[in-house]
């Protein structure tokens, strides 16, 4: 045993060491979470493979690649779907993967256990977020790359606007994911809640019916939902316009409200 045991209790242990292990712990937790994500085969296939598969299927439907003549920019149906697929990927990770993982960790007492170590439960939360955002970004790059190289889909024309829209969408959707993780009791409940929110939200993002083809009322509703605003902003930027400020504002507001709500409501046990 360390000699400090003999000098108790006047001189507690814990020499004022450097805060080194703190950053190291976060790094180690992130690497571990990444490994665990890789082992979660379902997550990899569903989160990364499925959007790519959708892209390949859409890309191989001949009519989807010919520009729609009426369109001002000569965009094909496939061009129009890529931003929606991007919103889809972001929503998959934010609403399905992240809340289920975090709520499962709480349910299994992993967060409590970490609360008794110097690492603390906040770091595993940060590690989970980092891994999910990193995998999402890699998936987006893959998606855009495959769309460009295999199917000739142009890259986003308004790159800065596109990056901003992606960033704000990540904030809004991952904020919502954290909020789900904060309020549901179990990993299962998180899965269910994520799925229940996912499908209507994807509807308003135009996964089944393009936003432009919706009746005006639905279009308005769509623009007010997080994924609708995301899909519209991403599409605008893709086609070369700066996204509508109102929709960017909506995304930012959603992100702020969700994250604040998650911080207020999150329970460690």
């Amino acid at each position: 045993m360390p000699s400090s045991a003999q000098t108790m209790p006047t001189a507690p242990v814990a020499p004022p060491g450097p805060p080194g292990p703190v950053g190291a712990a976060l790094r180690r937790l992130t690497v571990t979470e990444l490994k665990l994500f890789g082992r979660e085969r379902g997550g990899v296939i569903w989160g990364v493979g499925f959007p790519l598969l959708l892209l390949v299927i859409f890309g191989n439907i001949p009519g989807f690649r010919t520009p729609v003549s009426k369109s001002a920019h000569g965009v094909s149906i496939l061009d129009a779907y890529v931003p929606i697929l991007i919103a889809f990927v972001l929503a998959m990770f934010a609403l399905n993967a992240l809340p289920a993982a975090l709520a499962g960790y709480r349910e299994k007492g992993i967060l409590r256990r970490l609360a008794t170590t110097p690492a603390g439960p906040g770091r595993v939360l940060a590690a989970q977020l980092a891994v999910n955002v990193a995998v999402v970004v890699v998936t987006l790059v893959l998606l855009v790359g495959v769309a460009r190289l295999a199917f000739g889909v142009a890259l986003p024309r308004q790159a800065a606007g596109f990056a901003l829209a992606v960033l704000l969408t990540i904030g809004a959707l991952f904020g919502l994911g954290l909020l789900i993780a904060a309020v549901v009791p179990t990993g299962r409940a998180a899965n269910a809640t994520g799925a229940i929110l996912f499908f209507p939200m994807m509807f308003f993002a135009g996964l089944w019916l393009p936003i432009a083809a919706m009746p005006p009322v639905l279009q308005h509703v769509s623009h007010a939902t997080p994924l609708g605003a995301a899909a519209q902003s991403l599409t605008d930027a893709w086609e070369g316009h700066w996204p509508h400020p109102l929709q960017l504002l909506a995304l930012a507001a959603y992100g702020l409200v969700f994250i604040l709500g998650a911080v207020r409501l999150f329970r460690w046990e």
Binding site: M1, P12, V13, P21, R39, G109, R113, T117
Partner: protein, 313 residues
């Protein structure tokens, strides 16, 4: 010897439910101190306050001179914890878990040696989800020790283990104490407390009802001893009732049951020997910690004890 854990007048309620009601005790360096009691008695709440997982409503706690809430970061460096019902990610390997947890501490133990000691070295590449109950328990003990703590709090150490694994775990804990670690043990197994603990606090309904060494606690209620035997040849009751140590003699068929105090066993056996009576099937029942438990809390530990892991929060 300095006190390593000091709990004074601890109170904790959840809403209207009083979980811990004025609990005080101290644990000395190098001691194995047991908190014993039925489920829902407030054992886990008490240690969760010591671990800094909960804030006490009132009272003072000091662990190694640290306040578990205020000095939580410092405390985590020197307090190893095994939680009741805490798991790890299913797909995390044993070696990875130990390596990860050891990276949290300033002075970690050699986790490979620790895995050896706990019989886990062959399981380093095994995922948590594939471990048996006993292996999971050993891993959770290893994780409690991987930061080379000065104090370890172990909650329901052997619940859910088979008898052999339980005995192995006990031997292990004795080894940990021998290496200088002070241990606070939460249990509802009498046998475990009798075997491991230097001192035991008996908790019931949030209050400490008794605190002493296991044998002293048992002796406290050992006013009576019960001796049963089949005398051969049959003996007269008067032989026994005349002894000052004997309080009662009853017959059940051929069996004679003698209760008494003090040195009653020696008195009875010598009077039988003098009369050349053989005591067949001789059995002496001495009060155990279990009897102490029943006497002090007024209920049977087995009634709400074995196997029921939920309920205590």
């Amino acid at each position: 010897m300095p006190a390593v854990i000091e709990v004074r007048n601890l109170h904790k309620s959840y809403g209207d439910t009083v979980a811990v009601d004025d609990v005080s005790f101290t644990v000395q360096e190098g001691e194995i101190f047991g908190i014993l009691g039925p489920n829902g008695a407030g054992k886990t709440t008490t240690v969760e306050c010591i671990e800094g997982l909960r804030t006490a409503d009132a009272g003072a706690i000091s662990v190694l001179g640290l306040d578990p809430r205020r000095d939580h970061a410092d405390l985590t460096q020197c307090l190893g914890v095994q939680l009741q019902d805490s798991q790890l990610p299913e797909r995390l390997e044993v070696g990875e878990a130990l390596d990860l947890y050891s990276s949290f501490y300033r002075r970690p133990a050699d986790w490979k040696a620790l895995a050896d000691t706990l019989g886990l070295s062959g399981k380093r590449r095994t995922r948590y989800g594939k471990l048996s109950g006993g292996q999971k328990q050993r891993l959770s003990i290893a994780l409690a020790l991987v930061g080379s703590p000065q104090v370890a709090v172990l909650d329901e150490l052997t619940t859910g283990l088979d008898p052999q694994a339980r005995r192995d775990t006990w031997a292990l804990i004795e080894g940990v104490r021998a290496s200088g670690v002070t241990i606070l043990l939460v249990t509802h197994f009498m046998e475990e407390a009798e075997r491991l603990c230097d001192r035991v606090a008996l908790i019931d309904a949030g209050k400490i009802v008794a605190m002493d060494t296991p044998s002293a606690l048992a002796a406290g209620v050992a006013a009576e001893m019960r001796i049963r035997f089949r005398p051969s040849p049959r003996a007269d009751d008067e032989l026994l009732t005349g002894l000052p140590e004997v309080t009662s003699v009853t017959r059940r068929g051929d069996l004679v049951e003698v209760t008494g105090t003090g040195n009653v066993v020696a008195a009875v056996t010598s009077v039988l020997a003098r009369n050349q009576i053989v005591a067949e099937q001789l059995r002496v029942d001495q009060a155990s910690l279990e009897d102490a438990f029943v006497a002090l809390t007024g209920h049977d530990s087995h009634r709400d004890g074995n196997g029921a892991r939920e309920g205590e929060r």
